[in-house]
């Protein structure tokens, strides 16, 4: 399947007086695709888009349908390429219809009137974008989101094969965002070339079939959302920590940011405190996330691969001992756990359901060193409510506490114990 190249840029550089923003970017776009341009603030996304539309002078190769873009007359360009700006000043009270009709100027001689066909086309576009009810409203009376939809409608009414979008949904609410972008996807389906700058990476991943990532005016990645939106690339380009997952409904990649608020190494130690979280049934998920953000050297215990805690540990890159769901804990797994317990500076045990199956885990903790253990029991709960081993589990947990484990009902309590340990490392009990 060979698709026609519409917009083609080679070694394209562009910018402002004395400042080159886009540096030697090469990329081409084919008919029937929806491409997202992503990158951090000030990376040159919008500059690149404005260079594409010729409102910014550029050097290098820039072709539209095989013809240098410099050779287009202004009217030809207005019929070949549409642009949706982020926002636009509204000094005069045009009606919505008047603004959308401006899309037809490129096709109309200055000595002629707009035709009934022009009016009909704009009417259709207003219906498609769901703003026909605003037709006669003054643009100055519109909300930011409504105005953005008018700008989208106007670009659509230009009937161009190439459409450039500069953060077209930044003012839109959730449902209008997906409506607008679904419309773009449909357009791409009918052979248009859609290129959009996006801030919201998840939105870009959801609707675009290709992403171009830009940093400091140069192209750093170009491919499918799954190829481009990796935690490593996001860290490199945005300096942010994220985890990726699959969208549960669409199977597309999506990102979740991790808190990077306090990444300091706790205390004055050269190596971070080694903390083992022994949890299950989702009881450790929040805790793992909280502690990961604080820079502790984390490990997780024995976890069934269907357990939420396992998913979190995997996403955060925390080592654990995975076992098959509903399987017996093997002696081998327990041996590995013993090793982790010995290596850990502190062990956190959030209260979680314990049955005969995972009871051996508690016994390992007890024999290896109750003093290192911090037990988290939410306020108002008792050990008995987690006991599914006919009293043996509750006894084991109570024993841990009486054998010197620290007990707390809050996460702040856990953090306080960890901070203590930072300053005063507990003796390594073998």
């Amino acid at each position: 399947m060979t698709k026609k190249t519409t917009l083609n840029a080679g070694n394209l550089s562009a910018g402002y007086i004395m400042q080159e923003i886009v540096k030697s970017v090469s990329c081409s776009f084919t008919a029937g695709t929806f491409t997202g341009i992503i990158g951090p603030n000030g990376s040159g996304k919008t500059t690149l888009l404005r260079a594409f539309s010729r409102v910014l002078p550029s050097s290098g190769l820039l072709e539209l349908d095989g013809k240098p873009i410099a050779d287009f007359t202004p009217a030809e360009l207005g019929m070949a390429l549409g642009f949706v700006p982020q926002d636009e000043a509204r000094p005069f009270s045009y009606s919505v219809m008047q603004v959308v009709l401006m899309a037809r100027y490129a096709r109309t001689s200055r000595f002629a009137s707009l035709t009934p066909a022009d009016y009909a086309r704009c009417h259709t576009v207003l219906e498609e974008t769901g703003i026909i009810h605003l037709k006669d409203r003054s643009i100055r009376a519109l909300s930011g989101g409504e105005w953005q939809r008018v700008l989208i409608a106007r670009a659509l009414a230009q009937d161009t094969k190439v459409l450039l979008l500069d953060e077209p949904t930044s003012h839109l609410d959730l449902s209008h965002q997906s409506d607008a972008l679904a419309l773009m996807t449909d357009l791409a389906g009918t052979g248009s070339t859609i290129i959009g700058v996006f801030h919201d990476l998840n939105l870009a991943a959801l609707f675009c079939d290709r992403l171009i990532m830009i940093k400091d005016g140069t192209l750093v990645a170009d491919g499918t959302p799954t190829d481009v939106l990796t935690p490593e690339k996001i860290r490199e380009v945005y300096g942010a920590e994220v985890v990726t997952a699959r969208h549960p409904a669409t199977g597309r990649t999506f990102l979740m940011p991790l808190s990077t608020r306090s990444c300091k190494t706790p205390g004055e130690r050269e190596t971070p405190l080694r903390v083992l979280v022994v949890s299950g049934g989702g009881s450790g998920a929040d805790l793992l996330h909280l502690l990961a953000g604080r820079g502790y050297d984390l490990s997780a215990g024995i976890l069934a691969t269907t357990d939420t805690d396992y998913g979190v540990a995997e996403a955060l890159g925390i080592p654990s001992i995975p076992i098959l769901p509903f399987s017996q804990i093997t002696a081998h797994a327990l041996e590995k756990l013993r090793g982790m317990v010995v290596r850990a500076d502190r062990i956190i045990l959030p209260a979680h359901p314990v049955s005969a199956g995972n009871l051996p885990v508690l016994l390992v903790l007890r024999e290896a060193g109750p003093a290192k253990v911090i037990v988290h029991l939410p306020a108002g709960r008792e050990f008995a409510s987690y006991d599914f081993a006919k009293g043996a589990a509750a006894t084991a947990m109570t024993d841990l506490c009486s054998a010197g484990a620290s007990c707390t009902s809050t996460y702040d309590g856990i953090l306080a114990f960890l901070e203590q340990s930072d300053n005063n490392i507990p003796p390594q009990s073998e």
Binding site: I17, R50, S53, A75, A89, F92, M102
Partner: protein, 315 residues
């Protein structure tokens, strides 16, 4: 769309009626059918040129104001904003102080054009001009020229009166050639701006927007500025700097029929002409020929405030 054609036709009829009626009004009397001696000289030789000059000057100022407001995306812009009036004032003041009042119109015209050229060349120094740069440069140059005019007033001695009257604007010496000059400027420039109505609409949302809509934004900008400058410099050389018409007429028109420049441009031409003819007739008939600039603002400002109050909107 449905209201615009009747409005334009109505304004055109009103313009003709205004010109005819005001020609037959004046302190010397003379009704429509007067056969008194000298009536033909006064009506045809003095009043008609004056009424026509006022009409074409008012039309030119109003249409230039409408175009500038769209170009600068600023409803507060007036046609003098790029320095035309202060340049004209400087030229006129120089002629009054140093040439004993001869060649005032010529010097006013030269001053107005020189001011604009200075503004363009300063603002365009780096090749790329934004309308914001143009606007700021225009304001700076205006202040500079006004300072020189103030200095001339300070040293003018007995000529102060003449400078001040010129600054307020009027049609005391309007001749048939003035009326013809104003018409000769208005007809081509007004037609040009009318056919650029859509360019002005697009430009009023921003030059980049205009370019994205298929408009040759740079060419449109220079064409609009060129046509407006010719109109305003002509007006200044004929009648001094008459305020208010250029700023407010387009607003009144937009309040009545909306901001579409395809309609605003012709309507401003007609309304600007009508307003200035009426103001000038009032000035020469009831106010012992005060400068018409005083009348336009004195009667126009309260009217404008009343309109704002009625409509609750300014554009």
């Amino acid at each position: 769309m449905t209201r615009t054609l009747p409005l334009i036709i109505g304004l055109a009829i009103a313009a003709v009626l205004t010109i005819v009626i005001c020609t037959f009004i004046g302190p010397a009397g003379f009704g429509f059918v007067s056969t008194a001696p000298g009536a033909a000289d006064i009506v045809g030789g003095i009043r008609l040129p004056r009424v026509l000059a006022a009409f074409f000057v008012g039309a030119g100022l109003a249409v230039a104001g409408a175009a500038m407001q769209s170009l600068f995306r600023n409803p507060m812009a007036d046609p003098y904003i790029l320095g035309t009036s202060s340049g004209g004032a400087l030229g006129a003041s120089l002629a009054i102080v140093f040439l004993g009042g001869f060649f005032v119109p010529v010097f006013a015209w030269i001053g107005a054009v020189v001011a604009i050229l200075i503004v363009w060349s300063i603002a365009g120094r780096k090749g790329v001009i934004s309308v914001e740069t143009l606007l700021l440069t225009g304001i700076a140059v205006s202040f500079f020229f006004s300072a020189i005019v103030s200095f001339l007033i300070a040293i003018a001695g007995q000529n102060v009166h003449q400078i001040l009257f010129w600054l307020m604007g009027g049609f005391w010496n309007a001749s048939p050639s003035d009326a013809m000059l104003a018409a000769a400027l208005l007809i081509p420039a007004g037609a040009l701006l009318f056919f650029m109505g859509r360019d002005l609409n697009a430009l009023s949302l921003g030059e980049e927007t205009a370019a994205h809509l298929g408009i040759d934004a740079t060419r449109a900008r220079w064409t609009v500025l060129g046509a407006s400058t010719l109109l305003v410099a002509g007006a200044v050389s004929i009648a001094g700097s008459i305020g208010f018409i250029g700023l407010v007429t387009p607003h009144i028109v937009r309040m009545l029929i909306g901001p579409d420049n395809r309609v605003v441009i012709p309507a401003s031409i007609l309304a600007g002409g009508i307003i200035l003819v009426i103001a000038d007739t009032l000035a020469r008939t009831f106010f012992s020929d005060l400068p018409v600039g005083i009348i336009t603002a004195f009667i126009g400002a309260p009217f404008f405030i009343w309109l704002i109050y009625q409509r609750g909107s300014t554009v």
